[in-house]
């Protein structure tokens, strides 16, 4: 039981950190430009495909990861310059529709280029086995993901909280007009944020690629989770995204792993078998509804 709990807690941490990489870009796009980007999940999918394809071509996971992240960032740059600039001025409905169109195009293009079957992405061979920590075994690759996530989260925190660019970004999220009036080029800043967000998407997609299947539609389910994260955390807040991602990651993972067992202990077997998976899958939505009930602006509102 303890072993299961520890293992699942680490899995939750790892999932939460990857969610944070996705939510960080999304929450800034949302917060600064007030723009809904449903296609954020598609960048994650395209990123994973780029990484997988590059890793196969270069025969090296790390080279592929680098190339895939760079490629996705470039794609993000093109998208921002050609499409998203025109969407900022439009209402939410237009943004929803345009980015939904991007999802359709992305999914279908990926299917056209790489076919309907999932792409295989192998973790680096040196990390394929498990390692022993405090008496139990845990896959080395998952530990590396956790380390990567922690490093990126730390760097992002330093960048946003301590650097001048980060100060501009936070100012832009808190009050865009005022920031522009102070002479900061919010447009260029936003292009940079969008490109950076696209790169983070690809990083998450590439790192998770060996664990999950790299396939069409992988972006949609994770997109909804990223939305839940930024709503819980507060739109536009990086700190909120980190806390929200860790909450969602752990609650979802632990809920799925432990809830059926817990219910079996308290309820009749057939009721537990029906209720367990259902309750586990909606747990984070209940959590979100609960948090919004008490804190309608999320845990760390960017616009105080």
């Amino acid at each position: 039981m303890t072993q299961l709990f520890l293992e699942q807690a680490l899995n939750g941490l790892q999932f939460g950190l990857m969610l944070f990489l996705l939510a960080a870009g999304l929450t800034l796009v949302f917060g600064i430009m007030d723009c809904i980007n449903l296609a954020h999940g598609s960048l994650y999918m395209v990123g994973a495909y780029f990484v997988a394809a590059a890793a196969q071509a270069a025969d090296s996971f790390w080279l592929g990861l680098g190339a895939g992240v760079a490629g996705t960032a470039l794609l993000g740059l093109l998208l921002e310059l050609s499409l998203f600039r025109q969407l900022y001025r439009r209402d939410h409905l237009a943004q929803v529709l345009a980015t939904f169109a991007l999802i359709l195009i992305a999914n279908e293009s990926v299917r056209l280029i790489w076919g309907p079957a999932p792409l295989l992405l192998n973790p680096p061979e040196s990390l394929a086995g498990p390692v022993e920590i405090a008496g139990f075994f845990y896959p080395a690759y998952r530990l590396v993901i956790i380390a990567c996530g922690l490093v990126v989260a730390g760097l992002l925190y330093l960048l946003v909280a301590k650097s001048r660019i980060g100060m501009w970004v936070r100012a832009g999220a808190a009050n865009r007009e005022m920031t522009e009036a102070l002479g900061i080029n919010v447009r260029a800043l936003f292009t940079a944020v969008f490109v950076f967000g696209a790169g983070l998407c690809a990083l998450a997609g590439g790192l998770l690629g060996p664990l999950l299947a790299v396939q069409v539609g992988m972006g949609e389910s994770v997109l909804i989770l990223a939305f839940v994260v930024i709503i819980i955390g507060g739109i536009g807040s990086i700190r909120g995204a980190l806390v929200g991602a860790l909450i969602v990651g752990t609650v979802d993972t632990l809920g799925r792993a432990l809830l059926p067992t817990l219910l079996r202990a308290t309820l009749p077997a057939d009721a537990a078998a029906t209720l367990g998976p259902a309750l586990a899958s909606i747990l984070i939505y209940l959590l979100m509804a609960g948090i919004l009930f008490f804190k309608p602006q999320g845990l760390f509102p960017a616009r105080a």
Binding site: I36, A94, A101, I103, E220, I231, L292
Partner: protein, 315 residues
């Protein structure tokens, strides 16, 4: 302000189209193309669902990204009733509407307290929640969905024939559109449109804004439930895929292609989208790319939709 009032030529056009549709099943029968009766029924069902979203979105100004939840709940209510042996449409269809409407009432009561982006996200989250509930509910077929073995009867007459179901769907759509057009010109409709235009002022005038919005949201949900119940009977299956958020997106796309807030927007959008799908799919399997580009073009160059090219929205 009467955005929903149809012009006289539109009424005439609607009558002509209705007459043509009434003749459609016999015509297709003569041409030996009876496959298309089912297709036409599907188009009309989606026209009904898209129109219900148009009521919420175009008319009430609420950007809901969770409308498919009500659509799917209606389908499941019908399938559950029919599996239990309750096959009388005069009972099942109102029941599906009632359950979907009540569910929409509950979702709306929570979601409508939020604004803007939060509203979009919360409706989306509720729909996902419903989707996962049905996916994991092994009692109702889980991921495989719940089959409908025998179609509804309506006042004792079986709808097993495709033409019979077509006429029922056509009748439901006609009545709904008539009601929506009356509703839009009634006191309720004017109030809800005024709320969309200026919420603060209506609040100050003493209108219970939340209650009006909620009523509009629930009516939309109930009609979506009716559409879902009809679809379950057409396809013989209530599948969790009906509740997926991409389905909500598709309905939204239909409304926007057709024209947000135009009486016929939902109908036009459903017809255009499903016809495009039927035609393009035949020669290009990856037709979603074409659809996506088309949507981008609509957003960037024709933001008011197809119906706007024909109708005048006098504001």
């Amino acid at each position: 302000m009467a955005f929903y009032r149809p012009a006289r030529w539109q009424q005439t056009a609607a009558l002509v189209v209705l007459a043509a549709l009434l003749a459609l099943p016999s015509l297709l029968d003569v041409l030996d193309q009876s496959y298309y009766i089912g297709f036409a029924t599907r188009v009309l069902i989606f026209a009904l669902a898209a129109s219900s979203l148009n009521l919420v979105l175009g008319f009430g100004g609420m950007v809901s990204l969770g409308h498919a939840a009500f659509f799917g709940v209606g389908a499941y209510v019908a399938a559950i009733c029919q599996q239990a042996g309750l096959g009388e449409g005069l009972l099942v269809l109102p029941l599906a509407m009632a359950v979907a409407g009540l569910f929409a009432l509950a979702v709306g009561a929570v979601s409508l307290r939020t604004r803007g982006v939060y509203f979009i996200m919360i409706t989306l989250a509720f729909a996902q929640m419903t989707y996962y509930l049905f996916v994991s509910a092994s009692l109702w077929g889980g991921e495989d969905g719940l089959p409908v073995y025998e179609r509804l009867r309506l006042g004792g007459i079986s709808l097993a024939g495709d033409a019979a179901l077509f006429f029922v769907v056509l009748g439901a759509l006609t009545v709904t559109m008539l009601l929506f057009s009356r509703l839009a010109q009634a006191r309720f409709g004017r109030t809800i449109q005024a709320i969309r235009e200026n919420e603060t002022r209506m609040e100050a005038l003493g209108y219970p804004v939340l209650r009006y919005r909620l009523a509009c949201f629930a009516i939309g949900g109930a009609v979506a439930g009716l559409a879902g119940a009809l679809l379950a009977n057409l396809s013989g299956l209530a599948s969790p895929n009906l509740l997926q958020w991409t389905q909500s997106g598709t309905l939204l796309v239909m409304v926007i292609i057709g024209g947000v807030g135009y009486l016929w927007g939902g109908v036009v959008g459903a017809v255009v989208l499903l016809l495009l799908e039927e035609i393009l799919l035949a020669w290009f399997a990856h037709w979603h790319i074409v659809l996506g580009l088309l949507l981008l073009a609509v957003v960037l160059f024709a933001p008011k939709g197809v119906a706007a090219l024909f109708g005048r929205r006098d504001d």
